[in-house]
Amino acid sequence: MSTNGKPARRDTTRNDAQPRFRARLRSTLVAAFVLLSVLPIALAMFVAVERTSAQAEQQVVNQLDSIAETKEQAIRADLADSHSILEGVIADPVSYSDVVTLLTMSAPDESLRGTVATRFEAMLAVQEAFSEFFLYDPEGTIFVSTEPVQVDKVVRQKPYYAPSLQGVQIQTPFYELQSETLTMVASRPVFDETGQLVGVLAGRLSPGAFAEIMTQRVGLGETGETYLVSLENNYLVTPSRFEGYPLLRAYHSAGIDNALAGLDGTASYVNYRDQPVIGAYRWLPDVQLGLVAEMEQAEAFRAVRQSTQTSILVAALAAFIAANIGLFVALRITRPIAELTTVTRQLSEGNLAARTQVRLRNEIGELGSTFNTMAAQLQTTLRKLEESVKEARTATAMAREANRVKSEFLATMSHELRTPLNAIIGFAEILLAGMAGELSEQHKHKITRIHLNSKRLLDLINDLLDLAKIEAGRVEVLRDPFSPIQLAATLEAEMESLAEQKGLAFNISVDSSLPPTLIGDTARLEQATSNLLSNAFKFTHRGRVELRLSANGDRSWSVVVSDTGIGIPPHALEYIFDEFRQVDTGSQRAYGGSGLGLAITRNLARVMGGEVHVSSTLGEGSTFTITLPLIVPEDVAVEMAYESL
């Protein structure tokens, strides 16, 4: 085993290629691990953020809505208080009679006016809702006011005047030119004993009253605010939480406009300060004001944003850990695979002693041990194979040597046998030719026997050598074009004298279906056929000998030699082609011949790729058939193809 024990060959170019493969496998695994861990985290995070922000918004909306509700209630309560106060002012028995008296007088009594005014001032001082009480007659002339400058002024043009004659009411805020402020006036009519309307008691509501409610910022965080907006020019009724936004300016936003349009609701929008906000708005029909509660989205979602950042951080951390685990696992998987690959390559490069050291208790470990088993088997198999090849080579060499020795032996034997035969035949013929003087008849007869037997010996030697040459594979079969008709003619010429000598008919026929030219070894064919013909003439005493060349389809053709001779007994058909076998020893004596002719014919037929068969009936004759592959020259084949068209 030349490959055994050879150190593992390490091809540098191959090694360069190896880490690339490992890196690819590793990066694939890492990518898969990272994706698998990051994707669910990201998805969960996205859902959580979405839910949290929706929840946060809902929470803010709810909060703002409830704040708005609370403030509306507070304003209602405040308004109810205002009415109670006005009722209280009227219900005061002293002032009520004074007021009616004062209003029904044709000319107002100054002292009574002073008494009522003093009474009003006293009442104004004990409450905070109103900044002024004043009294006017049905024509709108102010009789009494806690603000002395208002006395005798006519309120006929004021928006609250007309409704105030009809019943208790609160005039929605309106812009008063003199004071340059938004004003609200609550009023109730005053009737005399007969139920006749004699005037109206009115109170100017303090501007700070609602402001106190609206600027309460419990639950509004850093940017939340509530404010009231007037239908009048979209003015703010209560101050903005932020500086630079005076009351008397027209303000617009989705919240403000919706509230003033009489709608209640919540929405996200850009407010009057151009800030994106979440807002709750509602219309207060009692005071004809819009109430808006807003909080900036930045603040509302701050918590969400913070939790989103935390989530991203956690996800990134998870991804990082996952990537590291992935790398670790990938290395664990790829390292043994890479080692296996290296060892496999060593094996493929012929280092059959290569074994893997992978000892994992998993499928890869199993692969490794299976690989080692396989490599060991391969090594054993190859060793056996090499041994077999070596044996086969030795056997071939021995056979070749044996063949060479055999050929040499044949040549030597031929030479050594011919040399004494040369003398025997030579002297016999010299004597028979009379070159050494006249012979007596008796001598002539004996020498003739010597001569014939020595000729027979020569034939035997020649046949033996032929057979030995064929069996030693020294016969080269030619592949030349020849004419079957010419072959038949040659054989006819060769056998003619023999036929004449024995008085037998010699019929020769060549099938017209046989191509005019075939490929083969005409000398070998002639030798094989003439052996059969010699036998036919030898064993036939009357009748005929026939030679027929015929085609058997387009694959083979036959040389058929038949006779009307003595025939062959069935038991002899089995061995008739064996060397030195005639039907029996008696026939050998009777007919002569070496007994090698049929063996030579069979061997020649075989070296030409064919076979010989015999059929025979004892006493009637025999038929020998040499069947050979039909090979035609290409031009002949083309010609035949044309003819068949």
Partner: protein, 131 residues
């Protein structure tokens, strides 16, 4: 066919290490009237060739000391023997032997055993210039 007149003019050198072979050939040739000189090895043949120039030479191939091949080479190297036919008469009758001999420069090739009946005809067939 009677070749007596032709053969009577022949002077033949027969070279063979087998005395029986020499005798057969000598008997046949002399019967037909030829003058025969014989040698039982190559060296003696060369010695003889210094004395006589034969019509043709018949030589065995396998002989001790100087064999038929070496003899042929020597003959072909001596200018005075130029044009003398050299016929191999040998028991080497295997396929290819004749071709090898003719290729080496032998004029003709005859195998043993020779037939005295047809020997003269065989020679004349192979050496037509002698007829």
């Amino acid at each position: 066919m009677n070749h007596y007149e032709t053969v009577a003019n022949w002077t033949v050198l027969v070279v063979d290490d087998e005395p029986d072979s020499i005798e057969v050939v000598t008997d046949v040739l002399e019967f037909h009237g030829a003058t025969v000189h014989s040698a039982n090895d190559g060296q003696k043949a060369l010695d003889l060739l210094g004395l006589v120039k034969p019509t043709f030479i018949l030589t065995d191939l396998s002989m001790p000391i100087i064999d038929g091949w070496a003899l042929l080479a020597s003959i072909r190297n001596s200018p005075e023997l130029d044009g003398v036919p050299v016929v191999a008469l040998t028991a080497h009758a295997m396929q290819g032997d004749a071709e090898r001999a003719l290729a080496a420069g032998f004029t003709a090739y005859l195998t043993k055993p020779l037939s005295p009946f047809s020997f003269i005809t065989d020679i004349l067939e192979r050496l037509p210039a002698l007829a």
